[in-house]
Amino acid sequence: MSLLDALRVVGLASQAEMALVRRDAVAGALLAQAARAAEGTPAGPLLSEAARLERAEPGREAVRQAALSLCRMGLQEAQADALGHPAGGVP
C-alpha cells in the first residue's frame, strides 16, 4: 500500500473508532468507507468484518464493542503500513 493509501485508511478508521466510542449512528457509514479504502490490505478483512457487524445490528452493545475491537485492529495495521511495516499476512 502506498503511504497515501495507508493514510487514507488511518483517517477513515480513526473517525470510525471515535464514532463507535460515542455510539454515533454515522459509525456504520464510516466503517464501510474505511473497509472499501482498505480492500486488498491486511486492514481490509478487519474493517470489512467490523462494517458487516455494525450493519447487522447497530446499537447492540456487544456488536458495537466487537466492531470497535476490529476497527482498532484495522487502524493499527494501517498505521503499521504507513510506518513502513506492513503485515506479512492477512487474517
Binding site: V21, P45, L46, E49, R52, L53, A56, E57, R60, E61, A62, V63, Q65, A66, S69, L70, R72, M73, L75, Q76, E77, Q79, A80, L83, H85, A87, G89, P91
Partner: protein, 283 residues
C-alpha cells in the same frame, strides 16, 4: 456457540448475525502477533471490575475466564467509575480487594479514589485490606493532576510504596505541564500513564522523559505513541471491559514489529516492567 469472542459473548454476536467462525480466526491471528518464548508471563496492567456509571461491567469470574482464554497470567484491577453515595469508592474498593482475595494468583488489587473526597480514610482502609496501588481518573472525578489535593494523594501513595495509575487518554486538558508539576512535587513517585498518554502523548513524553518512575500502559493506546518510547517505559494493558485481549495483544505485537523489539523487550512490556514495580502477583 459458547464462550467469548473479542471480549463479548459469542452467542450474542452469533444471534446478531456475526460470522463467529471468521471472528474466531481473526482473534487467533491477532493473538499470534505477540511472539514470545513459551512461558513468558503476561500481566494486564489495566482492568476495571464492577459496574460503571456508563453501563460497562466486568465481574471477577468473567475476568479470570478472559485471562484463561487468552493465556494471560494476571491482571491489575481497580473499580469502575462507581464512587458510591459518599463519593469515596470505599464499597467498590472493598469489592475489588475481595475479588483479589478470591483469586490471589490472578488479580492484583489497586484502589480508586477521588482526591477531593476523604482520600486519607479511604486509602488507609484500602491499604489495610490489601490494596497494592492506586488508580486516579482526573476526567471522571474532575480534578487536575497537579492540584494540591492530587499531589497530597500521590505523596501518600508513594509513602505506601504504591504506583499510581492515571487515566491519560481522551480529555481536553494538556498533560505535559500537569504531570511535570506532579513529578516535581513528588519526585520519588511512580506513575503509570494509561492509554499510552494518548490524550497528549508527545507533550507528556517530553515533559517526563527524565523521570525514572514513569510507565505508559498500552491499553487502547495509539500505535505511533507506543513505538516512539523505549520498551522499558511500557506496560501491557487492556482497559477491560472497554478493550479486549485480541486487540490489546495485536497492538503490542504490531508495536514490536514496527519498533523492532527483541523477545527480551517484549517480555519487559508484557510483564517485566510492571512486576518490577508491584512485585510478584501473589503477595
Amino acid at each position: 456457540m459458547s464462550g467469548r469472542l473479542l471480549g463479548q459473548e459469542a452467542s450474542v454476536l452469533e444471534a446478531a448475525g456475526a460470522d463467529v467462525g471468521a471472528l474466531g480466526e481473526i482473534e487467533s491471528w491477532a493473538r499470534r502477533a505477540v511472539v514470545v518464548p513459551a512461558g513468558t508471563p503476561i500481566v494486564d496492567a489495566h482492568v476495571h471490575l464492577g459496574v460503571d456509571r456508563d453501563g460497562h461491567m466486568l465481574s471477577a469470574p468473567d475476568l479470570v475466564a478472559d485471562l484463561d482464554a487468552n493465556a494471560i497470567d494476571a491482571a491489575v484491577a481497580f473499580p469502575a467509575d462507581e464512587p458510591g453515595a459518599g463519593g469515596d469508592f470505599r464499597d467498590a474498593n472493598r469489592r475489588v480487594i475481595e475479588a483479589a482475595a478470591q483469586y490471589p494468583d490472578r488479580i492484583v488489587p489497586f484502589c480508586r479514589l477521588d482526591p477531593r473526597c476523604l482520600p486519607e480514610a479511604a486509602m488507609a482502609e484500602a491499604s489495610d485490606a490489601g490494596a497494592r496501588g492506586l488508580k486516579l481518573h482526573p476526567v471522571a472525578q474532575r480534578f487536575r493532576p497537579e492540584s494540591d489535593e492530587c499531589i497530597d494523594v500521590v505523596r501518600a501513595a508513594t509513602d505506601l510504596g504504591w504506583p499510581v495509575l492515571f487515566h491519560a487518554g481522551f480529555g481536553a486538558r494538556p498533560l505535559g505541564p500537569a504531570f511535570a508539576g506532579l513529578i516535581e512535587a513528588v519526585p520519588d513517585c511512580r506513575i503509570i500513564l494509561a492509554h499510552g498518554g494518548r490524550g497528549d502523548h508527545r507533550a507528556v513524553a517530553a515533559a517526563t522523559a527524565g523521570h525514572p518512575g514513569l510507565l505508559f500502559d498500552s491499553s487502547i493506546a495509539s500505535l505511533p505513541d507506543l513505538v516512539s518510547v523505549a520498551p522499558e517505559r511500557l506496560a501491557f494493558g487492556t482497559d477491560r471491559p472497554y478493550g479486549d485481549y485480541a486487540q490489546a495483544l495485536h497492538l503490542v505485537g504490531t508495536a514490536a514489529r514496527v519498533a523492532g523489539w527483541d523477545t527480551a523487550a517484549m517480555g519487559a512490556v508484557l510483564a517485566g516492567n510492571l512486576l518490577r514495580w508491584i512485585g510478584p502477583v501473589a503477595p
